[in-house]
Symmetry: C2
Subunit: 244 residues, 2 copies
């Protein structure tokens, strides 16, 4: 028996997200299939976190077990031979039986990429959110700092969310600008469903002048999903890195 930790990169465009769902093509589903094809065994794949349909990953982490031990570099190469071009194994290693990709994650970084210029390059299409209206990036930079620390994110998660404790601690929340490219970086141990995209949607409202930085506090206190901004489109979002 051996346990493996795998780092993956994927373009989420063609998939219904990470998590296995009936009759839908998902990244977890394709990875499980690939491991089973390569090993000839049945297995389960556990990911560090779920990414939504259309969301990308520069580095997602998952684990799985196999009865038979396979040399990690051979296994990685074989998986890349079976997986489609938009899902790639970057690293693969054998880990201790105790390792758990989801429960052991200490910190996750997400990035949201916005292109705030008039003409979107064909080479960026599907990989950023194209916002035509000129954003007040300084206001967004000011507002985004209000997310740092411990807050109840009820107003920033899908109203259908069944998670009881909606308190999360945000370690870092920053906006960088380089020419027309605006990028939002956020780090926490974990995030609620749609939480990052709802935070970005709210920051975009700040950038458009429809909300102010001070409104963030009122939205936190309200616990009301309707007061925060709309869910930002998935194609701008990247799971960047997971620390263990």
């Amino acid at each position: 028996m051996a346990k493996y930790k795998v780092s993956l990169q994927y373009a989420g465009t063609r998939y219904a997200g990470w998590q296995i769902q009936k009759n839908l093509t998902t990244i977890q589903g394709l990875l499980k299939q690939a491991v089973e094809t390569v090993s000839g065994e049945r297995t389960n794949v556990v990911g560090a976190g779920r990414t939504d349909a259309g969301v990308h990953a520069l580095e997602q982490v998952a684990h799985f077990r196999l009865e038979k031990r396979i040399l990690p570099k051979h296994l990685a190469r074989a998986l890349n031979g079976v997986l489609p071009w938009d899902i790639r194994v970057l690293k693969l290693s054998e880990v201790a039986e105790q390792f758990h990709a989801q429960r052991d994650a200490l910190r996750k970084r997400y990035e949201y990429r916005i292109y705030n210029g008039p003409v979107l390059s064909p080479f960026r299409y599907g990989f950023v959110y194209h916002c035509l209206r000129k954003l007040d990036v300084a206001a967004m930079q000011h507002a985004c700092r209000f997310f740092e620390g411990v807050h109840d994110f009820s107003a920033f998660t899908a109203s259908s969310s069944k998670v009881e404790n909606k308190k999360r601690k945000i370690f870092l929340s920053r906006i960088k600008k380089k020419g027309h490219a605006v990028s939002y970086l956020v780090e926490a141990q974990g995030f609620l469903h749609h939480m990052v995209r709802n935070m970005v949607g709210t920051l975009l409202e700040v950038g458009r002048g429809r909300l102010s930085a001070d409104d963030i506090h009122a939205i936190f206190r309200s616990h009301d999903r309707r007061l925060a901004g709309p869910t930002a489109p998935p194609q701008g979002l990247y799971l960047v890195k997971i620390w263990y």
Copy 2:
């Protein structure tokens, strides 16, 4: 009557190249259609050069005439509204009646992008040539300088080429390396059909140790297409810039 110069960026993946061809979707064809839709007039579009099926452009230049004068910034915006996402108008201006996108070009730069690492990122797929075998980049850097100057490129053009004078002057021929990314830059006033891809195919043979830098001279002298390397795949090639 007004004449317009337009700068375009496109991802060539979905197209049968620049030039209008019956029953095929081409960039020239879509641009002509877009101009006709927006203006309500019939027109012709003349490009600085043809790019092959699957080849990209960071900046292609073309001209066309219209009876009716339209404000360039309005025309540019309207064209981007009609063109598909993978063809974008970057700049548009009114030019003198004498301007000719092809005949007036003084210098063109092409770039060929190679990824020479084990795992190709999903975010680069279709936008570089993935060469798995480790290339001797120093040998390629040495060999590529042999292309500079005036040479007869008979051995480096499609054997079906009907162009009489196959002499071309190469202003610049360089290879840059950054990590696993290898990029070939070449500049000339004009290129023959498949010429850049055949030059790259030959440099790849040098990188693989199947040809040496000295062979380049012998290939020039032979005028024999079969002695040069195979045509490199289109997805690595970019028309970068045209000087007037």
